[in-house]
Each structure stands twice: as C-alpha cells, then as structure tokens.
C-alpha cells in the first residue's frame, strides 16, 4: 500500500463480490441446505425449549434489523448509524401505546411501524444529500437526538427507567406459539427484503453504490432512489423494533442508544456487507457470543470493541465474505 492518503471517493464500503454462477449440482446442494436449515428452525422450540429458544427469537429479531441496515449499506452503499434509533422508536411507541394508553398491541404495532417509518423519512430527507463518512456522521447525530429525547423526555418515555409492560396478548404467551409468530413474521420480512434487493429497484441502488454520477447521467433520479431505499429500510427496522417490544416487554434509552446501531452494524459486517442473509449469520454469532461472554465476564462492551477492531483490520468483508474468498481461492487453484 503506497502512502496515498485516503480520498473521499474511497469512502464507500466494498460489498462482498457476488457468488459465481452455480452449476445445477451446486444449486441442488443449496436447496437441500436451505430445507435442512428451515427444518432446524422449526425444530428449535421443541429441541431446546426455554432460554435457548428465547435466544433464537432474539437472533431472528436482530437479524431483521441487521438486514434492514444491509439494504442501505450493502446495496445503496450508505452505512447508517441511526438504525438503532429507528428500531427503538418503534419499541417505545408500542410500549407507550400498550402501557400508558392501555391500547391494543396490534394497534401499537401498527403505530410503531408508522412512527419508525416517519422517523426514517425525516432521517432520509436530511441524510440523502450526503454520502460516505458524512452520511455516517449525520445518521449518528440524528440517532443521538432520539437517544437524548428518550432520556430526557421523562413524562412520556419514563426517562432512564424506561417503560415496562406486557405487550404480547395472552394467546401468544406460550413460548412455542410466540416463537412461531416471530419466525413467520421475520421470515416474511426477510423474503420481502430479498425481493426488494433483487428487484430492478435494488439493482438501481447497486448502480448508485458503484457510481452515482453515472447513474445520474443515465437519467436515474438518485436522491429519490436513496430516499425510498432509506424509508423502506427504516420500515423494516421499525418492524423489528415492534417485535422486540413483544419479546422484551421493556424499553429504555439503551434500546435507542448508539450501541444498538453499532451492534446492528457489526452483525451486518460480520455476516458480510451486501449479502443480506449474512445479517442472520452475524446476528447469530454476535448474540451467541454476547451470551457466552456475559457468562464469564461483565466486559461485553470491551469484547465488542475488540471484535470491531479485529474485524476492521483482518476481515472487513465479514465471515461469509471471508469464507467465500477462501472457497474462491481454492476453486481457482483447482482449476489451474
């Protein structure tokens, strides 16, 4: 690496290179693997009931958040540090509606998603004018406003004590039922995000990531595309936030804090930016690790920080990307 200083042009995140064209045998293996994976997911509440199932529930919820971040980071090339706040707004609205207003959880869920989407609209209007590191800074600052308001606006948010109350209706309270509720909702969301990423619109976003000026020259309305992408991404983050309200029955400023956005982003990076499903892998790895580490030590933030440093230095393309790179190298060695 020469001494060339960084320039703004290199600010985008290199997404993981797309997988190579598959042979029929390879795609058959993929289908088999997918079926096995689905079967494992269905078996979870019966094989490992109790605490471990709740960990899987948490993983599914955070995977949805991670994937919503990846929609922006991996496809539009805009890394957001404000998604934890969007996620948390939805959680706050659900809990406020259910506890303080004594409203229905389903109406709460609807309101939560609407509130998060509206917040995403505001974030998007300000942030789409920027790119690279400015985008990151701006989303960080916007997320911090939300955190500050949740912390100080005690009469509504309960301040540091947060809001507590059972959200999920009684019929959802048996764990297997709740598990399948979450599994079905997050699966549908994942499918929708996958469809979104693969649609012509998603391809246009990738074009914007590669070269904004070229897409503009081709006649695409770049700001509008980014605006829609941010809003859609915020919608999914908000939905994950409402599910978290059902799961956790508690919300405090920690839910909207920077750490939440950071953890979501780390899940995306560990899983591989631009792979979408990598978000699930990342969420599983981080949540599993968090639980193992918390068992031995209270120093989870330090471990999280060290992971960030190590990932950035050694494997910025994440686990999936790293695995793919290793496989590709081996494959090319075999061919030659």
């Amino acid at each position: 690496m020469s001494a060339a200083p960084p320039t703004e042009g290199e600010a985008g995140w290199e997404a993981v290179a797309p997988a190579r064209r598959r042979t029929p045998a390879a795609s058959r293996t993929r289908i088999v693997l997918a079926v096995i994976f689905a079967a494992l997911l269905v078996a979870v509440p019966f094989v490992v009931p109790g605490y471990k199932t709740s960990l899987v529930i948490e993983t599914l919820i955070f995977a949805t958040l991670a994937m919503s971040i990846d929609l922006l980071a991996g496809y539009a090339g805009r890394v957001s540090l404000g998604h934890g706040a969007i996620f948390g707004i939805a959680t706050y609205v659900v809990l406020y509606h259910v506890t303080t207003n004594a409203g229905s959880p389903w109406v709460g869920m609807l309101l939560g998603v609407v509130a998060a989407t509206l917040a995403a609209v505001v974030f998007a209007l300000l942030a789409i004018r920027t790119s690279g590191v400015y985008f990151l800074l701006l989303t960080l600052a916007l997320g911090m406003i939300v955190w500050g308001m949740c912390l100080r606006w005690t009469s509504v948010t309960g301040g540091e004590n947060g809001l507590r109350g059972t959200v999920a209706p009684a019929w959802l309270s048996p764990q297997p039922v709740f598990y399948f509720f979450i599994l079905i909702v997050t699966s549908v969301m994942t499918w929708l995000m996958w469809r979104f990423a693969r649609s012509p619109f998603g391809l246009t976003l990738q074009g914007i990531r590669e070269s904004e000026s070229r897409m503009r020259a081709l006649g695409y309305n770049v700001p509008l595309h980014l605006f829609i992408a941010f809003t859609v991404s915020g919608f999914f983050a908000g939905l994950a936030g409402t599910l978290y309200a059902f799961f956790n029955s508690f919300v405090s400023p920690a839910t909207v804090a920077l750490a939440q956005s950071v953890e979501g982003l780390l899940m995306v990076i560990v899983g591989g930016v631009g792979t979408l499903f990598g978000g699930l892998v990342g969420a599983a790895v981080i949540i599993a690790l968090e639980n193992v580490v918390s068992f031995y030590t209270e120093r989870w933030p330090m471990v999280l920080g060290l992971m960030f440093i190590v990932t950035m230095i050694f494997a910025p393309e994440g686990l999936l990307g790293w695995g793919r790179a290793v496989l590709a190298r081996r494959a090319s060695r075999k061919e030659s």
Binding site: P5, P6, L138
Partner: protein, 285 residues
C-alpha cells in the same frame, strides 16, 4: 436580566470547552478524513489521568501537561498500531475508532467505576469573582481565557509554522503534498497527536467542572460532532463559531425546554445541514 447574562456566560464557557475538544477533532477530520469516534473516549481517559496526576501531585498544571502528553502518546499508538492497517478506506477507519472507543470506555469503567469524579482545581481558581453586580465562578472565566489562548496558539501554528503550512496544504489536497516529496505520513502522525492531546486537555478542563462519569465521553462526542458538522471540516474559525452556537443552544435549551434540550441543539443543526451539507465553512473534497 442578570440571569440571562449568567446563562450566556455559562453558554460561552461551555462553548470554550467544546472548542478545545472539537478543534482536535476537526484537525484530524480535516487533514486525514478520519472521523475519530474515539475522541470522546480520549477526552474521558485524559480527564481520568488528570484526576490521578492532580490527586498525587496536587498540581493542576502538571495534570494538564501530563494528560496532554499521555493522550498524545495514545494517539500516536492508535495511529501507528491500528489505523495504519486500514488506510484508504474511510469507513473502516471510522468503525475501528468506534471499537477503540468501546474498549477505552470499558477500561475506564473497570478502573474508575461508575461514580462521578471532579478534577481538583488550584486554590487561586476556586471561588467566585464579582464583575459589577454579577457573581461568577472564577474557574469558568479561566476556561474562557484558556480556550482563547488555544485558539490563538492553533491559529499561529497553522499560519506560521512549517507543520501548519503542511497541514493547511494537506487539508486542501494531501495527495499533492505527498507528490511534492513531503512525508505526509509524518504530518498525519503529528496532527493525530496534536488532535488527541487537545482531547486529553479538554478532559482535564471539563472534568474540573462537568465531572467525569462513564458516559461523559458520548456526551462530549455528540456535542463535538455537532460543532464540526455545523462549522465544517478542518476549519478553525468554523469550529469556534460552531462551538459558540452549540454551547449557547445547549445552555439556553436546558433552561427553556429542559426535557427537549437535545432537540433544541440538533433541530437547527439538521436545518443547517439541509442547506449546507458540508457545514458553514466546509469545503468540498
């Protein structure tokens, strides 16, 4: 009336602290395009170091100098041991500093616990001073004076020294400076050290009146970010104006709308950004 003057002075002195911290941030951001999210953590660690030094030696000056040197060394190590390996990709650098911030904060929490500490200040700076009918803490006025001195020193450094000339040239086009045969890496290292040292000094100064506690770093980082976003990347004057703006808004916001103080700070910031995405004095890269 005198209440308003009192609040305005509070705002100005808070702005003074913000300027010292944010000028270090903007130096690094301006020249190296590195958004050092560990800047708040360096502030906190510097403050804790100052606390220890002042406690042991009883000298506030020694605490300031010690924190400046120690945090400059931390900055040197950060740059040479970590940031060098992710050179080129800005986002990787940002996220690395974020990781570093988490580690440093947690280390500080392990060592100093969750209690709030105040850095002891010398006898001569304690107590109030009377200006006309207004009674005001002496230390805060000292802080105001100190920040003006820092501003002058930085302005002189940037205007008249070789390093300053190189930094100014680097802010505009670091590749060109490199191409002219100047070792820009070394300029980067010096700048990073100066920027870090300013965070450390800020920690000692801030720790003497805002106290040091585990989330003090995020608080100061958010305000510094706001200052730099408003002022524009790498501009000293922009940072000074941004500091005043944020310091005043933060102080009066807390008085007028205690629950929505944060919104009062960031609402105008967001509006400004909508019209000038690069801040008041920001230049396009």
């Amino acid at each position: 009336m005198s209440m308003t003057v009192f609040q305005a002075l509070n705002g100005a002195t808070f702005a003074a602290l913000l300027f010292i911290v944010a000028s270090g941030f903007t130096l690094i951001f301006g020249l190296m395009r590195i958004v050092n999210l560990a800047h708040g953590a360096l502030y906190l660690v510097g403050g804790y170091l100052g606390l220890v030094v002042a406690g042991r030696s009883g000298s506030f000056t020694l605490a300031l100098v010690g924190a400046a040197i120690a945090i400059a060394i931390v900055g040197f190590l950060t740059y040479t041991l970590l940031l060098r390996f992710v050179g080129g990709n800005v986002l990787r650098q940002v996220l690395l500093t974020l990781g570093l911030a988490l580690v440093l904060d947690d280390l500080a929490l392990v060592i100093f616990g969750g209690d709030a500490f105040t850095v002891p200040i010398p006898e001569t700076l304690r107590g109030p001073v009377q200006i006309g009918t207004l009674v005001y803490p002496k230390y805060r006025l000292f802080l105001l004076l100190f920040s003006v001195l820092v501003f002058i020193a930085l302005a002189l450094l940037l205007r008249y020294t070789r390093l300053g000339a190189l930094i100014r040239a680097g802010v505009d086009d670091s590749e060109m400076v490199d191409a002219m045969g100047i070792d820009i890496r070394r300029v980067f290292i010096y700048t990073f050290m100066v920027g870090a040292a300013l965070a450390g000094v800020g920690g000692v100064l801030g720790g003497a009146f805002l106290t040091l506690y585990p989330t003090a770093d995020s608080d100061i980082l958010v305000f510094s970010l706001a200052v730099v976003i408003i002022g524009g990347r790498g501009s000293l004057v922009g940072t000074a104006i941004g500091s005043l703006f944020v310091g005043m808004l933060a102080t009066f916001g807390q008085v007028w709308f205690p629950e929505l103080a944060y919104f009062v700070i960031f609402g105008p910031m967001a509006l400004l950004l909508a019209f000038r995405p690069l801040g008041l004095f920001g230049k396009t890269a």
